[in-house]
Amino acid sequence: MTKKLKAAIIGPGNIGTDLLMKMMRSDWIEPVWMVGIDPESEGLKRAKEMGLKVSSTGVDGILEHVLNDDIRIAFDATSAYVHAENSRKLNELGVIMIDLTPAAIGPYCVPPVNLKEHAQSQVQNVNMVTCGGQATIPMVAAISGVQEVDYAEIIATVSSRSVGPGTRQNIDEFTRTTASAVEKIGQAKEGKAIIIINPAEPPLMMRDTVHCLTVEEPNRDAITESVHAMVAEVQKYVPGYKLVNGPVFDGNKVSVFMEVEGLGDFLPTYAGNLDIMTAAALRTAELFAEEAFFDRLTLPKRGA
């Protein structure tokens, strides 16, 4: 058996294409199919040029190929509305689903915080929260790892050019899913998420602010150390993840100001929001592949 797991990407938009470009460099994941719904779409054409098999009839178009092509993992970069059906159809065939929509039918995954847990369970669907969640929840977790956090709030500011139609039509799902993951994965008793879309030209780099209210007076040294350690963890898969200011302490409020510069794979480097999402999803899949290769994880049985 080769060590690479074969994969399908659903949704050839900004996220799907950026993911594909990163996957081409992966030692653990091999992209085989790109799935869209418009045969004329730029994204499908690009994927074909890059050597992928393409379907323009949605997930239904690849179901009969899943077993023959040994597809083990799928990435859904469509929308919250169609994800559940995509996931059900592919899970039935024994394909693990990595959900990049805010549908969140599976457990949330923020790699530096809880990826290891998922790799040890037999989970069939993991949700990557949102770009804002991936950029900020590690910071919330870094603070809540030191002491109890009553309330955490994140503000994600992204450039207009980096926000596709899916996110725009589902902006409520973005704020709800991110706030919920701030609570569940960030371990804040109450979470709140705000997203701002900025149209400035040249486009601004993704910016993220995290505010936490700790129950007791914050332990400044421990929190500062924990924040720096977590930044280093995220930098392992998003090198442009940067602490701009903070942690700043004001009473029980701890504030951290981040900037996320992308690798510039599909969209230019300002679109760090795209990178942090696709890099987190790929890292998740790679860990599954690694664990399967070393027999620490049993892949779902193939349907007959």
């Binding site: 039509q169 409520d172 900025n198 149209p199 602010t209 409020k253």
Partner: protein, 342 residues
């Protein structure tokens, strides 16, 4: 300028935009007193929400003295003729908040986006229109888009179900000619059934002049606030606008002396600071910066020793938009580091 017999519908902002100037700390009693006074003066529509709209309660914008629900439930039942509106910014509030406001009895939902990002408002405008509410699309920071871009964005909001579109001068940057140009194009190209509105700020001292220009160009709804209680140098002071409209023979339906009394007897005494075109508020208008940044920049000045004016000018250069309050402290920290102050 001839506004004789023009019909104008005024919309008071003191209990929403005014929340910025009061750090969202208006008490329930103050809300009810102002709203009741405005109702008696004939104000047809009054906005009641956190300054940053439904769900605006946050560390970023400020925790309010009471929840949106508490404010709405206190004010709505007391109104004899006035209707109550609520503001919602997609990305901050959600359709859940909108439903709560509907259940509290608001008649009008205003969905606000930056003037180039109208397509984030589809969920909320459609939901509001489906509930049968008076639904307004509110295009903020209108000075940052060309008239043609504004029109394109207004048409999106109209297509989602908005029955009124606002040209919103959030920075108080616009001059009357620019208002005329934008409002005229919207009036000419949107459906005749779609109303046009204008929301001004007084940062360059142009709020009254801009409102008149908007009315002349075809706007029917005009925002303002009693005693100007609003972000920056405040909104168009309504008692002043009413007096001007009265002199011009426009049809506004407000009792001038009653609204003057609400301004002088209730609102001015509760101001935490004079709301006027001071150095920093003027900078907002001059540099084209979102009006609610004012008090945050002044607080950053106190905390980090960087002048609020320098912070605001830099924020203008960077093209910041409404809601980016977090950038103020971030920028102040960076400037303080550069100057070796921290």
């Amino acid at each position: 300028m001839n506004l004789n017999n023009k019909h104008v519908m005024l919309h008071d902002m003191s209990l929403r935009d005014g929340m910025h100037a009061k750090r969202h700390q208006i008490s329930l009693d103050e809300m009810v007193a102002i709203a009741t006074g405005l109702d008696n003066a004939g104000m047809p529509l009054i906005e009641v929400t956190h300054g940053d709209g439904l769900g605006g309660t946050s560390l970023n914008y400020g925790f309010p003295a009471h929840s949106d629900e508490e404010y709405l439930k206190a004010v709505v039942p007391k109104m004899k003729q006035a209707k109550i509106s609520a503001l919602l910014l997609p990305g901050i509030g959600t359709v859940d908040h909108l439903k709560m406001a509907r259940d509290c009895g608001v008649s009008t939902i205003r969905v606000a986006t930056h003037c180039t990002e109208a397509d984030v408002s589809q969920q909320h405008i459609s939901a509001s229109a489906k509930m049968g509410l008076d639904t307004v699309g509110f295009l903020m920071m209108a000075h940052m888009a060309s008239p043609e871009k504004m029109l394109e964005q207004a048409k999106l909001m109209e297509s989602y179900g908005a029955n009124c579109i606002y040209c919103t001068d959030s920075a108080g940057y616009m001059l009357p000619d620019q208002v005329t140009e934008k409002v005229s194009l919207l009036r000419a190209e949107l459906s005749p059934n779609t109303e046009i509105g204008f929301h001004g700020h007084h940062n360059m001292g142009m709020a009254i002049a801009n409102s008149l220009a908007a009315i002349e160009a075809g706007a029917h709804r005009i925002d303002g606030s009693v005693a100007g209680l609003g972000a920056g140098a405040g909104n168009t002071p309504l008692e002043v606008l009413v007096a001007v409209l009265e002199r011009m023979g426009a049809n506004h339906g407000i009792d001038l002396y009653k609204i003057m009394d609400v301004a002088e007897d209730i609102v001015v005494p509760m101001m935490d600071q004079p709301i006027r075109v001071d150095r920093d508020a003027l900078t907002l208008g001059y540099a084209g910066v979102y009006s609610s940044f004012l008090l945050f920049a002044q607080r950053a000045q106190q905390k980090y020793g960087i002048s609020a004016r320098d912070i605001l000018v830099e924020l203008g250069k960077r093209g910041t938009v409404g809601g980016q309050e977090d950038m103020i402290e971030d920028l102040a920290l960076t400037m303080a580091k550069e100057k070796g102050l921290i």
